[in-house]
Symmetry: C2
Subunit: 572 residues, 2 copies
């Protein structure tokens, strides 16, 4: 008798696992159930559908040959029996059956399996605040919600949207609504920065500034207390701990929780905070039951900790591993390094591994350093500056994480992916980063690529050679210059620095690097000194020269390019 495989969930991992298993074992009897109307869709594309980049909602559920992936498609093209409107209620592991319910008729039945795949995904978190069930309050993780919002936008029914949570979906939706539809958008984040689990504080400020350039209001360290409704039961105000904001649309994007209750109820090992535990074959504690995608807890390959990483790309790769293993294969999924990327307004942010906060929380003696460098040979036309921030362990010189920010998304993704690949397969050190052999030709990169440069600067930092501060710290010194008495020295060409010196005499000195050896007497020895240039490189050379004459100054990482990306250049 043929192997009976039942897959619960038909969005990302489920279809992948089912189709892969069928290809490897054509005689297998494979059924995939889903509680919704739509299956096998690209949920990650929702903000791009709302924002108009994807013209039709069906674009998110068609193959690249233009065929809609519905039940008939799965039967004809994949040999998989897909059944929609069918919710799994419970798993009976002794009988090897799943009790299911037709969501349209309420009818219940029992479905047998030899091997079961749990691909139930996740549900958006809804904050437990008054008014969270008002009209025009929603989250956007399913196609129906996406379509509803898109139609509201197209009908000009939204004037002011408030997005609660500055994670990926929150920021993508903010851009979609503000850019495409010109809607007034406010993003509210409880933590002290956007993308708090992903970005260093410096790049979070760049991301915030980039959104503000589009007219989006970003409020951090602010929490929503209540949503107030109008006479029709529709939301009209958002009340935070700091203010009241008028709003006719509220979108929750404060993360998701794994739909693992059905597994826990069946006695499968789950993490105390939710999420099914699996081994590296993506098998649950019952060897006949596999799980993957948004419903599982996996391992962070850098910290060794449990990790919850609900991403469509994870679901796809894990789906293939399950499809292979469920029919007797031996594919493995060892864990995650947590690579990610997001398109903002003009900027693109990326990352992999641990942030400084996460690294410290995991017990590393971590520091971070950031650079600005051209993504192509500087003599080649059309290059952009890439910001890269690396997190390293001081003692072992191990590379723990990287974050990037650039107007050129592909360029910053390339550097991040290379580091992610190293983090996935080994324990890279700063030396590995300095020598990372990325492809080189002038139209693609500098001979010393930005990813090598950030390794070099990290090396200089951990050896105590480079006395570097973050742009946050530099701006704080500048803001408090009346009290701290710092002199700020600018090593860019005079055309850039002199006008600032003229605005701030006695506080700011323009001193092009070429002139430093003869003008070094102008740098005082009796007050603290902070250095800046365009990218941080020239000021580093100046720092070394000043050290020779007994002056120890701090250098602002990323120089004025970083300050400009943060919107802080206007302060000078």
């Amino acid at each position: 008798m043929s192997l009976k495989i039942l897959v619960i969930g038909g969005v990302a991992l489920g279809p992948k696992a089912a189709a892969r298993a069928k290809r490897l074992m054509p005689e297998a009897d494979i059924t995939m159930i889903d509680q919704g109307t739509y299956i096998s869709y690209g949920g990650c594309g929702i903000p791009y559908y709302v924002g108009g980049d994807v013209a039709q909602m069906d674009g998110l559920r068609t193959t690249n040959a233009g065929v809609v992936r519905d039940e008939a498609f799965f039967m004809n093209n994949k040999g998989v029996k897909a059944i929609c409107h069918t919710r799994a209620l419970s798993i009976n592991r002794k009988d090897k059956t799943v009790l299911v319910e037709n969501t349209q008729t309420g009818e219940q039945s029992s479905m047998p399996y030899d091997k079961l795949v749990i691909a139930t995904g996740s549900s958006p978190r809804i904050p437990p605040i008054p008014g969270n069930d008002l009209k025009n309050v929603t989250s956007v993780t399913c196609l129906e919600a996406a379509q509803a919002i898109q139609q509201q936008c197209a009908a000009s029914k939204i004037n002011h949207a408030v997005i609660i949570g500055a994670g990926f979906i929150g920021l993508e939706m903010a851009v979609a609504l503000a850019d495409m539809w010109g809607i007034k958008v406010t993003v509210i984040e409880m933590m002290d920065q956007v993308l708090p689990a992903q970005l260093c504080t410096n790049y979070a400020q760049m991301a915030k500034h980039d959104l503000e350039e589009l007219g989006v209001t970003v409020l951090t360290s602010e929490s929503v207390k209540e949503l107030k409704g109008d006479e029709n039961g529709a939301v009209c105000q958002v009340v935070t701990n700091k203010r009241v904001i008028d709003a006719d649309q509220v979108i929750f994007s404060i993360g998701v929780t794994p739909n693992s209750q059905i597994a826990a109820d069946a006695g499968l090992l789950c993490h105390p905070r939710g999420g099914i535990m699996v081994n590296s074959h993506l098998q649950t504690s019952d060897p006949d039951i596999y799980a993957g995608g948004d419903v599982i807890v996996t391992r962070n390959l850098i910290s060794g900790d449990f990790a919850y990483l609900p991403l469509g790309s994870m679901a796809n790769r894990q789906g293939r591993v399950i499809g292979t293993n469920i029919v007797g294969g031996q594919a493995t999924f060892e864990g995650v390094v947590g690579s990610w990327c997001v398109k903002l307004n003009q900027m693109h942010a990326t990352g992999a591994g641990l942030t400084l906060r996460q690294a410290k929380a995991a017990g590393f003696d971590a520091v971070e350093v950031s650079v600005e460098a051209a993504d192509k040979a500087h003599f080649y036309p059309d290059h952009t500056n890439t910001s890269l921030n690396v997190v390293v362990d001081k003692k072992s010189q191990r590379v723990l994480g990287i974050q990037g920010m650039s107007a050129d998304g592909s360029a910053v993704k390339a550097r991040t992916d290379a580091v992610a690949a190293m983090l996935q397969i080994g324990r890279p050190t700063i030396n590995d980063l300095s020598n990372l052999e990325v492809c080189y030709a002038p139209p693609f990169a500098s001979a010393m690529d930005v990813v090598n440069t950030v390794g070099n600067v990290a090396d200089n930092l951990v050896r105590g050679q480079h006395n570097v501060i973050t742009p946050d710290e530099f701006v704080e010194l500048w803001d408090n210059r009346a009290e701290n008495g710092y002199l700020f020295v600018d090593f860019r060409p005079a055309a850039a620095g002199k006008p600032i010196e003229e605005r701030h005499p006695g506080e700011y000195l323009s001193l092009p690097l070429e002139d430093l050896r003869e003008r070094q007497g102008e740098i005082p020895t009796d007050r603290p000194v902070a250095l800046v240039c365009n990218t941080g490189t020239r000021a580093y050379e100046a720092q070394l020269m000043l050290r020779e004459i007994g002056i120890e100054a701090v250098n602002s990482a990323g120089g004025f390019i970083s300050l400009r990306k943060r919107g802080d250049d206007v302060k000078f």
Copy 2:
């Protein structure tokens, strides 16, 4: 007394090593000599200067702040004494001196050192053929030669240029001359493909086609026997083993040889074919002498063999390692994976690790497989197709190399860099490639990225699941269809396949994948069958379905997208 460091060579590695050493040890006495007029220039940018992307020759030797890197720059900004027009004649290791000659006056003198850096680079290979010294016969590795050619172009003095050697510089120069100046260009390559040491045969055909689209003539498997001159001693004809070609400019680009004779003469260990041998600290067999860049032989991290990889990026990274170590540091350079990239006409080619030929020569039981996939989510606008070819060892499933080809250079570089990073730090397997955690969001990648896909297809290949042939093989089957009796089945939508079927009845069948289950009876069992679709994916699914009914067919990797990139689609 301060440490006396002497650096021979001032182009790429020399300046980097000197400046780094000075930064780490400000009290060091560092001198850098060079036989030429120009130092610290980006030689890799020469084709872009000739082709007009870099407006001024000095653009190749200025900092990104616009300062020319000459002797004064090195003294003022770097604290390094740079001396041009000074050639090193011999090294006296006992006395620790170098005998040098002023190339303008002929005056000789002796320069002492405590630590010596040999950064003498390489020289272009000149084929030993009659006429190789005629006027307008040159190579383009120095700025003077580049300027001469650029001036000839600007004065419209070149009508037909012949480029001998289809390596990086040859192809970049071909594009520069044909694209910017509209010059008739012929490239002659002795081997049977362009970029023979870098590209798989399939992508070499794509590269050739891409150059032909620009009007460049590419002749492979052809060797130059003689250059003939006119009455003024200028070249006028190129004689090959197959034809005579009129030409008023000839450029040699058949590689370079290391300038290691001075090291060999001093008794330093050198490779029999040239190139200084160094340890992982880039120390020669004399611990007081370091060497790097184009003059050394390093190690291939994948094959373990000796490797000669003269690239500007190598020189820069190695220069930093030498600068660190020469003042007592412990940086290492373990070897190379051989990553590279080149911009052609509309296409960009990239690679890392071993080609199939190289892998077989190194003793691996290697196979390769190629895919075509979108570099962004297929529903996202503006994606391009990336071609990726992976070379794997069948038995160990180890990944040995990757090559890429795409109209989007950054996209294909990103995937190649990620694999290069894995090759550099570990021994990645196919499973690692399938699970490679590259950053994902729809504007950047597909949920199952092309780099994962090529891993998946390699997995299917080595398991015998996917019966795949290269486009070369597919085209050969098509060309010989009268003899071999193959039926070709096209699984794309009928709009794409039907017109071909109508042109070739009985030989070509249009059968959209969706219709296969009901029309499978149309596939004959008594003649061989070859399958094709747009990318290879649908035809793979068809292959599995046909296998169920006892028909074993071959599938053309990369489908019609590959055929189109090769210029072979017009044959159908």
